[in-house]
């Protein structure tokens, strides 16, 4: 009985015990906050990594692809029909994206994926990620994922008119100066010997025209100024639909969804300090794609295509490297259509499962079906294994480090307890003189430690959970106070700090902290229990 009474009295009267409680509390709260944020990040990351990927992908190991998508899909369906919800065939190939911005040609490496938008959106979210639309447009009563919406159309027409006007101006200017326009050799002379240069060319940097013609510049009329186009002497320029399209407001045959990261950059508004995104390419613009054909050996292939929309999956790896293209056009450009049989080759089949937990079995079945030499069958997790593993390793390391924090709190408790025991030496002597056993005295201090642990971790859990709940408010307040954003959207890609509270983690942390508090009090408690009553009584 005296144990509890003394325990409570010691708790109430020792303000130094408050330090123990606070250190346990801080440790517990930090663990909970960091764990929740890590779990939130992890989840969000998983979602984003999954993002545009399908559950299971069957890929041909060669960029040439394999013939006959329907045959392969039938094989897959025969093998695992019960598990499969949807499938779509795609062509994946590497390439480059070039577009003009502010008078410069900007080129980016990309992964070009030929898709059927309807099929693709059945195996994974696509339309949700599109920046300018919520749904695919309907053309003549049919859903057409590649149709331009009205805003893109207007944009395209405006550009066409602007460009034509600029070209007329330019031609008039040039005729006035008497400069021959039509032969490459003339401009060559002009470029190589500026001393002979006639005024307009001498004053104009080579890409000056690019600034005005901007993106939709690939139709036949731009041929007039093509001398200054770095791609002008490219023999494949003609393979694009550019020349064929008479009406520039009509989109080209090649249509694209671009990752937002490829064609935008974030900047801070000078006045408001807000982070904004500047788009270098708008839907309706034309851009140039370079890739390789499916021939042996592969040859370079180029084409112009109209940007239908921009997508933002939230996963920077995808947003800054993926470009979706209409499947048939890509197959045509890459020569993947057999001229005699009209059979179209594909490189991969994306599969959505009814129940993702059965992914491993489906993969095993499909692996048996497709020999590993020519095909690879992977779940999205296997494809992104290293990234997912990195997230996990990160949170594991953080947990270890944080547990060290609690251990530090534990040593704090130990030191403070030792102090309290020393201070209480005389009381311990009295208790023993009155007949308290060593175990009794020990349990006073052990339960004292436990009480500190319970109070500390209880308050810590509450504080931690509150912190997690209001973390975004706290972040705003800190940002306002310090004038420096703690959580920069530009870096993290999330509009706010994601959190996820795992009740089990909270329990573990709380019990761990209590255990540490008890462990830390064992040593002082043992010392107390071994005190000699008379010595203790004489202690001043």
């Amino acid at each position: 009985m005296y144990k509890f009474l003394l325990c409570v009295r010691y708790l109430k009267t020792r303000y130094i015990a408050l330090a123990c409680i606070v250190s346990v509390m801080l440790g517990v709260a930090t663990m909970i906050v960091v764990n929740s944020v890590m779990a939130g990040f992890g989840n969000e990351m998983r979602d984003r990594i999954k993002g545009i990927l399908a559950d299971v992908v069957v890929e041909s190991n060669s960029l040439d692809g394999v013939e006959d998508a329907d045959y392969h899909m039938q094989l897959i369906r025969d093998a695992a029909a019960d598990d499969i919800e949807a499938m779509t065939a795609t062509v994946e190939v590497y390439g480059m994206l070039s577009f003009e911005y502010a008078g410069q040609w900007i080129t980016r490496p990309i992964t070009l994926i030929g898709i059927d938008p309807i099929g693709k959106s059945k195996v994974g979210p696509l339309v949700d990620y599109l920046v300018n639309t919520d749904a695919f447009p309907t053309v003549d009563g049919e859903i057409d994922g590649w149709a331009l919406n009205s805003a893109a159309r207007t944009h395209r027409e405006r550009w066409k008119r602007h460009r034509e006007w600029m070209q007329q101006q330019f031609r008039a200017d040039a005729t006035l100066q008497g400069v021959p326009q039509n032969t490459a050799s003339d401009s060559q002379i002009v470029d190589s010997s500026p001393s002979n240069a006639v005024p307009p060319f001498a004053d104009t940097p080579p890409f000056a025209d690019a600034a005005v013609s901007s993106s939709p510049q690939a139709d036949s009329q731009t041929q007039a100024i093509a001398e200054n186009d770095p791609f002008a002497d490219d023999p494949f320029a003609g393979t694009g639909p550019a020349v064929a399209t008479a009406d520039a407001s009509q989109p080209l045959e090649g249509r694209l969804y671009l990752g937002v990261g490829l064609v935008s950059f974030p900047y801070e508004d000078g006045q408001t300090g807000e982070v904004k995104t500047n788009m270098m390419v708008q839907p309706g613009d034309d851009v140039r794609i370079s890739t390789v054909t499916a021939g042996r050996p592969p040859a370079p292939a180029h084409f112009y295509a109209t940007v239908v929309d921009v997508f933002k999956s939230g996963m920077s790896e995808y947003d800054s490297s993926l470009v979706f293209c209409n499947l048939e056009h890509l197959q045509k450009v890459r020569g993947m259509i057999d001229p005699t049989t009209q059979s179209k080759a594909i490189t991969s089949i994306q599969i959505k499962l009814k129940d993702y937990s059965r992914a491993d079995e489906v993969v095993a079945k499909l692996k048996a079906l497709f020999p590993p030499g020519a095909y690879s069958v992977q779940t999205w997790e296997q494809k992104q294994g290293p990234l997912l593993a990195a997230v996990e390793v990160e949170s594991a390391i953080l947990n270890v480090l944080l547990f060290l924090i609690i251990a530090v709190a534990g040593f704090g408790i130990l030191a403070i307890f030792y102090m309290i025991v020393v201070e209480k030496t005389r009381d311990i002597g009295i208790l023993k003189a009155l007949g308290a056993s060593s175990r009794g005295v020990m349990s006073v201090f052990l339960s004292y430690g436990l009480a500190l642990g319970i109070v500390g971790s209880g308050v810590g859990v509450i504080v931690g959970l509150l912190f997690v709940k209001y973390i975004n408010t706290i972040e705003t307040v800190i940002t306002v106070l310090t004038g420096r954003p703690v959580f920069d959207e530009r870096i993290y890609y999330f509009p706010e700090i994601p959190t996820q509270v795992n009740p089990w983690t909270v329990c573990w942390v709380a019990f761990g902290a209590m255990a540490i508090a008890v462990l830390a009090s064992i040593l002082p408690a043992r010392r107390a229990s071994r005190l000699h009553p008379v010595e203790a009584l004489r202690y001043e």
Binding site: M1, Y2, K3, F4, L5, L6, R9, Y10, T13, R426, D427, G429, I430, L431, K432, A433, L434, G435, A436, S437, S438, G440, H532, P533, V534, L537
Partner: protein
Amino acid sequence: MNETVRMPVNHIQAIALEKSYHKGEHRVPVLCGTEISINKGEFVSIVGQSGSGKSTLLHLIGLLDSPDVGEVRLEGQRIDDLPTRVRDELRNRVFGFIFQFYHLLPELNLLENVLSPLMIRHPAWRYWTRRNEFRDMALHFIEKVGLMHRLHHKPSELSGGEMQRAAIARALVAAPEVLLADEPTGNLDAGTGEEIMELLTSLNEQEALTIIMVTHDPVIAQQAHRTVRLVEGRIELQQERSGATGHEISCA
């Protein structure tokens, strides 16, 4: 060994006790061959110079410390070499200790301090169920020592005499067989001291409580059945209250 005792049973017996403290290299002998036998229901007072080892002797008898040489016997049974747990029990149930320096627990109020031996004796649950009974017992003794108006004061808010009386109440509440009182009236005025002595005497007479009391006050010492003088760790003189015949006991 002096066999002229009034009662046949020696309640408490100290045989050839030796105790010395170590001060660095030096051995400071405090008790050397102290012998004392106390009968059941006897009231013995111990007098002696300051530093003569009176408190040390009480500590040894009360099992707070163990002698270097010699034995302490309770009803003929040696108790100083019993296992720690049994000695803890004996301290709690058989001996009541009034310390020279009171030694109250500073975190507890007067009532709780008085109750503390009972709290130690009983497991929490049993204590809780009988708490009212215990409280009445405590109040009984607190009333006897005249501290009813200070029940909820902490020791730091009490005067020396009040603390001393609280310590007396604490020693008595556990209903001990042997009361070891180290200067129980040291801080009390003559009147209060007299009341305390009356309390002790009546307990001694009515409940046959064995009392060993250390005191410096010859008047107080006189009220005991027998007075023992301790000089440099030896019992020098034993004096019966009625008879004035003191006889010396030599140190072995």
